[in-house]
């Protein structure tokens, strides 16, 4: 089998990481519904033996199942939207909506790293023509860089700045992110993808807050 071109391999790795994360969450949803379904079976058996459960208990269980079904629907929607972000290499992208979508996906990584992921988005919308998949990948890599060096504060913010000459996406951390390291494969990939997007990358990892900013083409 011939080796995948390096650029494609990196994009596939991101695609794989996100779909794996979303499918893991879906498995948890199914596992929970499975347990509550089994619990209802147990209660029916107990009822057959003369120990009927209270209506309140049944309502509680059915409510929990409904909640998990809704959670599952939401996850599938996210998975679907993410999968479709590769449809067009250049598309009209509403920046706030795209950032919110990737932030929701990154929330799980932040939670596993015991960090919080905040948003700072302005009022109003801003559309640009860009590659939605690569934009998400760049934000993901920025969040990972911040998580990798998260210290005491463990507070990361994804910001959209529309008051600068060019629309800017910034990943900020209350802890130092450290300098950009060309030997770090993810740092190098972030810069490579920024170039691909026609964006200017500004890395101020020791500032307060530490910051990785991408000034996008208007």
């Amino acid at each position: 089998m011939s080796e995948r071109p390096a650029a494609l391999a990196k994009k596939l790795a991101f695609f794989g990481a996100i779909t794996a994360s979303l499918s893991h969450e879906l498995k948890n949803v199914l596992a929970t519904i499975n347990e509550f379904s089994g619990l209802l079976d147990d209660l029916c058996q107990a009822a057959a033996g003369g120990k009927a459960p209270s209506p309140e208990r049944l309502v509680n269980i059915s409510g929990k199942i409904s909640k998990q079904v809704k959670r599952g629907e939401t996850l599938i929607q996210r998975l679907n939207r993410f999968a479709h972000s590769v449809d067009e290499p250049r598309a009209s992208v509403e920046l706030k909506e795209l950032l919110e979508r990737i932030c929701i996906i990154c929330d799980r990584f932040a939670k596993l790293g015991q960090a919080t992921l905040e948003r700072r988005f302005p009022e109003g919308e801003r559309e640009i023509t860009s590659d939605p998949f690569t934009l998400q990948q760049v934000v993901y890599l920025g969040v990972r860089a911040a998580l990798a060096t998260a210290g005491q504060q463990r507070r990361i913010t994804v910001a959209l700045e529309l008051d600068a000459p060019r629309p800017t996406i910034a990943i900020e951390s209350a802890d130092p992110i450290g300098p950009e390291d060309p030997e770090n494969t993810e740092h190098a990939l972030l810069r490579e993808l920024a170039t691909e997007l026609g964006a200017e990358l500004q890395w101020t990892g020791s500032a307060t807050p530490a910051r990785i900013a991408l000034a996008l083409p208007g």
Binding site: N28, T32, K67, G113
Partner: protein, 146 residues
């Protein structure tokens, strides 16, 4: 309920609803169940109490399942730990078994399979306890020369 067993179980998982349902089902089958939402909380529980089996999720915030397994087995090498995960890779299952996990199951799990593993864990725990007692008796006899 026909499928019953005795034993003290600790369920460790940050999925609160999942833990609630699984606990109720295991308790209905005669088991005594405690729960923990994090690896740190689980380690504190293991320090405070004896358990016949631990049901441990792999992906948790903070200490993940592998780190928690390691910490618990360092405290009690004979502890019987069943890893439960929604996303098990071969690499993780090998690592878990090397660290002394009793088994590695994928969610959603069939309850009769889990009950069978819990019974196996209880037998292993009882055997380990008996062996410790026998070893202690042998040591006493050897030192006292009776």
């Amino acid at each position: 309920m026909s499928d019953t067993a005795e034993g003290r179980i600790l369920i460790v998982d940050d999925e609160v609803d999942f833990v609630e349902a699984l606990s109720a089902r295991l308790e209905a089958r005669g088991l005594t169940v405690r729960t923990a939402e994090s690896g740190r909380e689980a380690v504190d529980q293991v320090k405070a109490r004896r358990f016949d089996a631990i049901i441990l999720d792999l992906a948790m915030p903070g200490m993940d399942g592998i780190e928690t397994l390691q910490a618990m087995r360092e405290m009690q090498p004979e502890l019987q730990v069943i890893l439960l995960t929604g996303h098990g890779t071969l690499q993780q299952s090998v690592e878990a078994m090397k660290l002394g996990a009793m088994d590695f199951l994928e969610k959603p799990v069939e309850l009769d399979v889990l009950m069978s593993k819990i019974r196996e864990a209880k037998t292993n725990t009882d055997d380990a306890t008996e062996k410790k007692a026998q070893d202690l008796v042998s040591e006493i006899l050897a030192t006292k020369g009776w």
